[in-house]
Symmetry: C2
Subunit: 357 residues, 2 copies
């Protein structure tokens, strides 16, 4: 059976408390545990659940603590018979699974998990019931995991609004290395160049470099932990990226040689191919959209009026990027719409006095 009536959240940080809030919205009884009394009290005050009485047995125990501590806690909880099934939410999966095996944990009741969600803030105060809405949530059952455990965890993910993605632990760790951990370090390395650059250079910075380096603004301590927990897969990706960049640099030093520049062009082509594989909204390629550019003023209501025009002609704006001008009260909005909506929206905006190219 896969009924989910009661859950124990071990660790009332951002992820743990968010899971608690999401499950509470579906009537699940949530018990909370945290060694930090202040964090536990705050989570309770936020309505995340009640303090766990260690005698209470639940359907699922969610271990929401740092990766290095997961297996020891799992072992202790299993010895106490705290739950029918167990999961964790750490951003790496080989490490906790390996240590759980070493510690002799019961692997039939444990489904290692990783919701791909987060915020730039941490702690229970930043928690949101909708944190996982539509986000992938990796589940990494092993050959030993029972079908009941897997089914129950799929149900938990669904209640939280997440999209369960079943994947092996090693495959998971290599995947997050390439789509998250290594890109983070690369963004940091590009941003580190800006730290040393003269002020005049920053004056020529535009939206491109801002996008490339945005994630490099995150908390270094948090990311050091994530990277050290997935060290080898991340190292492999970074070595490949570093080799490509070193080769590009060498080619540029021989830029007069067309063969050297051909290898740079080839890297740029591989980059284009890679970007085309990133799923966009609804899983489709983001480049399926067309854009409409419009000049906007910097006053309240400017965007409201713009979206109202789109609504009036039945056009859904899939995404919007604002690009503001330093020192000027004007900017450009780039509206992403279905290609067939471009003429309709453009005409409607022009009719309402918007300035389009």
């Amino acid at each position: 059976m896969s009924g989910l009536e009661s859950v124990l959240i071990v660790g009332t940080g951002l992820i743990g408390t968010s899971i608690a809030l999401a499950l509470r919205e579906h009537g699940v009884t949530v018990h909370l545990a945290d060694r930090d009394a202040a964090s536990l009290r705050l989570a309770r005050e936020l309505g995340a659940g009640v303090e766990w009485d260690e005698g209470t047995r639940v359907d699922v125990a969610v271990i929401a603590i740092p990766p290095h501590a997961v297996a020891e806690r799992l072992s202790a909880l299993q010895k106490a018979g705290a739950a029918r099934f167990y999961t964790d939410v750490a951003s790496v999966k080989v490490l906790p699974l390996g240590r759980a095996a070493e510690l002799g944990c019961d692997l039939t009741t444990y489904v290692a998990g990783h919701p791909l969600a987060g915020r730039e803030r941490s702690g229970p105060a930043a928690a949101r019931a909708d944190l996982f809405l539509g986000r992938p949530w990796a589940l990494c059952p092993t050959e030993e995991t029972s079908a009941d455990a897997v089914e129950t965890l799929h149900g938990l993910v669904k209640l939280c609004g997440g999209e369960a993605v079943r994947i092996g632990a090693e495959e998971h760790d290599r995947a997050v290395a390439v789509v998250s951990h290594a890109p983070h370090v690369a963004a940091s390395a590009v941003a580190a160049r800006l730290a040393d650059a003269p002020a005049a250079a920053l004056g020529l910075a535009g939206p491109g470099v801002r996008d490339v380096t945005r994630i490099a603004a995150s908390d270094p301590a948090l990311w050091t932990g994530i990277l050290s927990g997935n060290a080898l897969p991340v190292a492999e990706v970074l070595e490949a990226v570093a080799a490509d960049l070193a080769a590009a640099a060498a080619s540029l030093r021989s830029a007069a040689d067309p063969a050297a520049m051909a290898s740079v062009t080839e890297l740029l082509h591989r980059g284009v191919a890679g970007t085309g594989r990133i799923p966009g909204k609804h899983g489709g390629p983001p480049r399926a959209y067309s854009t409409v550019q419009v000049i906007i003023g910097d006053r309240p209501g400017e965007l409201a009026r713009l979206f109202k025009v789109a609504e009036a002609v039945g056009v859904n704006i899939e995404d919007v990027r604002l690009e503001h001008a330093p020192g000027l009260p004007l900017g450009a909005a780039e509206l992403w719409v279905q290609p067939q909506a471009v003429p309709t929206l453009s005409e409607a905006l022009r009719e309402h006095g918007w300035h389009l190219p």
Copy 2:
């Protein structure tokens, strides 16, 4: 005198035609020249100006052709006495200035320039009179350049809506290497890893990697030209980035050693420092804004209603990021506002039934 009544645009591509359109809006007489008759005709039909009669002398000739061809054209135009002053718009500046000196051009009348603006599309059909609005526009006069030439070019930039940034040619080329050219190659190298990754890995991709790799979707041929024209400064930055990434990889391979991980943490800290130096809207740091998150439905008018609420309480939304969920009709909007506007906007949105964390 710095009067600007007539301009010759040599090269009616995206940048040349956009300058023509911008100047026409201010009553400047614009003459057009292009060796490609179709491009010239299209620019004329777009209202960019009239075909240049080679006997006509203008105030400023704008050479809007690829960097490698600028100096030869400058020399020919000067020999024909085509203009009082000359400029170009190439994305590198040492190369055209150096070749102009070699060819014995008159450097008193030439102000090398580079408007920091572009689009993912090219050609006259993509041109916009507002392309330069609020964008930096580098001007690189040398010791030989006359004050009149500099003053006239400042006037031209202003008429186009750009913000003139006076900078030396070598400083310019090093600056764009660090804020534009090298980040582009780094984004390509990260995206290239995605090209080889298993499909399951892409299923775990989120907004972070999408931002890092966005610019890597640009035209490889165009970028090969840009990179080869600024080869050595870009190579230097890429070597530094590659060295940082190789060092991070080596540290991760010794992740059990706290000293090794400390060097990774230090790189992450340098990255944070670098992102903090990127100017945001109005030249201020982007992190001066706070964000309000709100859950939105995927139907026409959803954002219009949201912005209307903001308007009603007098809150200006400085920037907005939409984050959509694969396979779900819901997404989260992140609204950037002045920190003091957060409570007002949050309360107003909740009152109108929006779902906020």
